[in-house]
């Protein structure tokens, strides 16, 4: 399946886009997505941390991604 990862903050700079198309196997988990992202963008591994939000909620590593999900990469937040 192809999904599009929406990126904010420094993740947008690393991807050089705010909407990154990415090809994943069906039933990929958040963890598998992270591995694929880090393979393509080694800079990600240098961040203090980052999370994946699925449908506007922080997603644990074992959550499975469906084609219609809204998937967003959340680099370290710094609001306030």
């Amino acid at each position: 399946m192809e999904i599009t990862i929406t990126a904010f903050g420094i993740a947008k700079d690393i991807f050089r886009t705010s909407a990154l198309p990415i090809e994943l196997e069906d039933n990929s988990s958040v963890d598998m997505l992270k591995q694929e992202l880090e393979r393509r963008f080694p800079e990600l591994a240098k961040l203090k941390s980052y999370a994946i939000a699925v449908n506007e909620t922080y997603a644990a590593n074992d959550v499975l991604i469906k084609p219609a999900d809204t998937v967003v990469i959340i680099p370290p937040v710094s609001g306030g």
Binding site: L47, V77, G79
Partner: protein
């Protein structure tokens, strides 16, 4: 009566408006946190800041913080507003207002809200210096 006010705005925040939302005759103690843009970070002059948010999720996370605060502390009403876009030193990025019958819970709940907001709400801040810019807290 609605006890939670959550907003993300691209224009100036209004403490007066948030205070009016929270004030009621049952709340004797109101605690407010105002987060302003500082003119320096580690002694380096800051020219401006840019805030961006993943708005729908940031609203959800702020609502979650407010709901948690209402369940953990004996408070009556809570308003959390965050500004996004370009801000100059001295301008206000966030205002949290918490009203309670007694002051202890107002102080503790307000502190809980700002501490948690800084950890969980998907909002990012880029600091601009004379010689470049950095995304705050991105790297260890």
């Amino acid at each position: 009566m609605k006890s939670i006010d959550i907003q993300i705005k691209s224009s100036a925040l209004s403490l007066e408006e948030q205070l009016a939302f929270v004030s009621d005759e049952a709340s004797g103690g109101i605690n407010v946190f105002v987060g302003n843009v500082r003119n320096q970070t580690k002694d380096k002059p800051v020219i401006k800041l840019e805030f961006e948010a993943y708005i729908p999720m940031a609203i959800k996370e702020m609502e979650l913080i407010a709901t948690e605060a209402l369940s953990k502390y004996a408070i009556n009403k809570i308003s959390i507003q965050h500004r996004i876009g370009t801000l100059l030193p001295g301008e206000t990025a966030v205002i949290i207002v918490v009203g309670s019958a007694h002051r202890d819970d107002a102080f503790r709940a307000c502190r809980y809200c700002i501490d948690t907001l800084k950890k969980t709400v998907p909002i990012w801040k880029k600091e601009f210096f004379e010689d470049g810019a950095v995304w705050v807290a991105a790297h260890p």
